[in-house]
């Protein structure tokens, strides 16, 4: 343990430099914001992840946001355990019929104002599980979506850039309004 701590003191950080916000996500979030309630997030978003039918691939990459390499907390992004604590729902899909009610209830349990980020090709409606008796479809077929982050699965860097765009836009709007 002692050698580990000593090593950590002298080692360079493994964390990657902060990426720029994704241009595409900035534009999408900007559009979505026009009609939405603005609120001071103070550069901080509490995120609740909901797997509404994914293959778990997206979850693995969302998980990676928490590791030392991507370290999403330095951008004010924090994953919380309950939708009642959340500003943002990150939803992976395709939304299965068996998860539809649970997703609706999770959305209802999230206090306003709230944001929904659909993650992955399946959640955004272009995955391989399109036509099935067991699948409702993309996340926006069940709850309104503010930002779509595509990929199968999207890389953690893509997720990070999309989420940073979300934080930036929310804060910028608040400042200009305030």
């Amino acid at each position: 343990m002692r050698t580990l701590i000593l090593k950590s003191l002298f080692a360079k950080p493994v964390t990657i430099p902060a990426p720029d916000p994704s241009a595409a996500a900035l534009e999408e979030v900007g559009r979505a914001l026009e009609a939405r309630v603005r609120r001071l997030y103070g550069r901080s978003l509490a995120i609740r992840e909901v797997d509404a039918g994914s293959c778990n691939g997206c979850e693995l990459e969302i998980h990676a946001l928490n590791n030392a390499v991507y370290d999403c907390e330095r951008f004010g992004l924090r994953f919380v355990a309950s939708p009642r604590h959340a500003d943002v729902l990150m939803v992976t899909g395709p939304v299965t019929r068996n998860m539809k009610v649970a997703l609706e209830r999770t959305y209802a349990a999230t206090p306003d104002p709230k944001w929904v980020v659909a993650v992955g090709d399946c959640g955004c409606g272009c995955g391989v599980f399109g036509e099935s008796y067991a699948v409702v479809g993309a996340v926006d077929k069940v709850i309104p979506v503010d930002l779509s982050l595509r990929g199968c699965p999207p890389r953690p860097l893509d997720l990070l850039q999309g989420l940073i765009a979300l934080v930036d836009k929310t804060t910028a709007r608040q400042r200009s309004a305030g």
Binding site: D51, S54, E61, Y133
Partner: protein, 506 residues
């Protein structure tokens, strides 16, 4: 072959169908029922149980020998229950009932499993009846009676970044008297999506049965297609597949070891293992252009070659991670506070591991000495010397230790495969099937043995494909392992199993 009751029953089969590389026997109803009974008596392990239109199939294996498939026709919508003799089959035949509407006669549990009352039709792959919508919460849990018991419902939406499922704990104070799982929330209709589908589309769906096992699933799917068509894969492609499968095992084992320790609040292991995992995913992305290496294994070979530079990158990543991991392992082994949480917790008895044919670290930590890479050997593992760690304590610590040792074994395997990477092509064209043909393959995923059975039709079509993840036989054992433990140790036990929801729910 054994001189036992099943061998005698198979000798009287109505027909022997050419399924490659195992035989498939078609049996009359009574004979199928007798085989099921003998499986329940322990004459064979059950590897899988699935249906197709008008037929039910069961894969069984005499220990140390080649498995086979036994099939029986569904007559008037009914087939003999296997679950009445052999408990591991219960959830599988509940799934068959939900998907096809076929009734397992004499089944001990007739509750629906995958069908939560939300589909637009019942028996979507078989009887295609009118759906009877019902409240998804309307599900009779098994009764638990006794003094001072209370229930804790958890899920389907869990607190972490994990897949959905419902757990119903019945506890006496802090002690779990019973855990009952309810799964099926992420059922996507994979059996239907791979029915009558072009081979490449079916392959893409199979690659997404469970994202963490995408390499293992594509590997099994490709091998099943190749077996059905009698297609030989170039040796270089096989070796590259092996490298990918071991990289996937490494990434997942690092993730699991870290997550287990984190659930006992020993976060330093997660922090370091998270970096190791990331290192493996980054090198996978650099060499195969995808962090999880999805869709890289296809029937006929692989779509990405390993260049000399790629081999060097992989070797360098292993050289960097191996000593750092050894240090973390020492930390895990030398810290009494974490050992106190993992040793003796979540004990899975060896007899249950054998009865359920539990694969992967779950089985091997409870003395079940089975690894598909060695016991149902396939390229590139045939003839390669590698360790299959088996422990007998059956607790959370044993499941961690098996993974620790498998990390070392996988690193050795990757180095071996890279050192003798054969020259030659990496992909050969897939010929069209001359007529209907069947193939089956089992690969060792990080979680355990993963079976794919399929039937091909001329025109590059998959008539029917079934994927059986190791989780089917591990989920029920989690219910047994948690019994008598405290509720707070459930995350620890659950992570040490790390069953797949999506791979199970299909």
């Amino acid at each position: 072959m054994h001189e036992d009751s099943i061998s005698a029953l198979l000798a009287d089969a109505l027909a022997v169908v050419p399924l490659r590389p195992w035989p498939r026997y078609e049996l009359a109803t009574a004979a199928f029922d007798a085989v099921a009974r003998a499986v329940g008596d322990g004459e064979r392990e059950m590897l899988a149980l699935w249906a197709e239109s008008g037929m039910v199939h069961m894969a069984i294996r005499p220990i140390g020998e080649t498995p086979c498939v036994v099939s029986t026709a569904v007559i008037e919508g009914r087939f003999p229950s296997v679950g009445r003799w052999h408990a591991p089959a219960i959830r599988l035949e509940r799934a068959i009932h939900d998907l096809y509407g076929y009734v397992p006669e004499g089944a001990p549990d007739e509750r629906p499993w995958l069908d939560h009352g939300a589909w637009d039709r019942s028996g979507p792959l078989g009887t295609r009846g009118e759906a009877v919508p019902r409240d998804p919460a309307d599900y009779p849990m098994l009764p638990v009676t006794g003094e001072g018991l209370h229930q804790i419902p958890v899920g389907p939406v869990h607190a972490g970044i994990i897949e959905p499922g419902h757990f119903r704990f019945t506890a006496n104070g802090e002690t779990v008297a019973r855990l009952e799982e309810r799964l099926g929330y992420v059922h996507k209709g994979i059996d239907a999506l791979t029915t009558n589908a072009p081979i490449d589309r079916a392959g893409k769906v199979v690659a997404r049965v469970s994202g963490d096992s995408t390499v293992a699933a594509s590997f099994a799917f490709a091998r099943a297609v190749e077996a059905a068509l009698g297609l030989d894969v170039p040796p270089r492609a096989s070796a590259i597949r092996g490298v990918m499968a071991e990289l996937e095992r490494l990434a997942n084992h690092f993730g699991d070891i870290g997550a287990i320790c984190n659930d006992a609040a020993f976060a330093i292991v997660l922090a370091h293992c998270g970096i190791f995992r990331e290192r493996i995913l980054a090198v996978s992305a650099a060499v195969f252009a995808h962090r999880l290496m999805m869709d890289t294994i296809v029937p006929g070979g692989v779509t990405t070659n390993i260049t000399t530079e790629g081999a060097r990158l992989i070797g360098a990543a292993l050289d960097e991670v191996a000593p750092a991991f050894a240090e973390i392992v020492r930390l895990y082994e030398d810290t009494p506070s974490i050992q106190d949480r993992t040793c003796g917790t979540g004990h899975l008895p060896a007899d249950l591991a054998v009865r359920f044919a539990a694969g992967g670290p779950v089985g091997r930590a409870s003395a079940r000495d089975f690894d598909a890479r060695r016991d149902l050997a396939y390229a590139p593992y045939e003839g390669l010397p590698f360790d299959v760690p088996v422990l007998t304590t059956g607790d959370v610590d044993a499941r961690v230790q098996v993974r620790i040792r498998e990390v070392a074994a996988s690193m050795d395997l990757i180095r071996m495969l890279l050192a003798m990477l054969p020259e030659g092509p990496t992909l050969v064209p897939v010929p069209d099937a001359a007529g209907p043909c069947e193939g089956v393959a089992v690969t060792e995923a990080f979680r355990g043995d993963l079976l794919v059975w399929l039937r091909l039709l001329p025109g590059g079509k998959v008539a029917r494909c079934h994927v059986r993840d190791a989780s089917w036989f591990q989920w029920p054992l989690l219910e047994a392992a948690i019994e008598g433990n405290i509720v707070a140790d459930f995350p620890l036990c659950n992570k040490s199993f790390n069953c797949s929801y999506s791979g199970h729910d299909l």
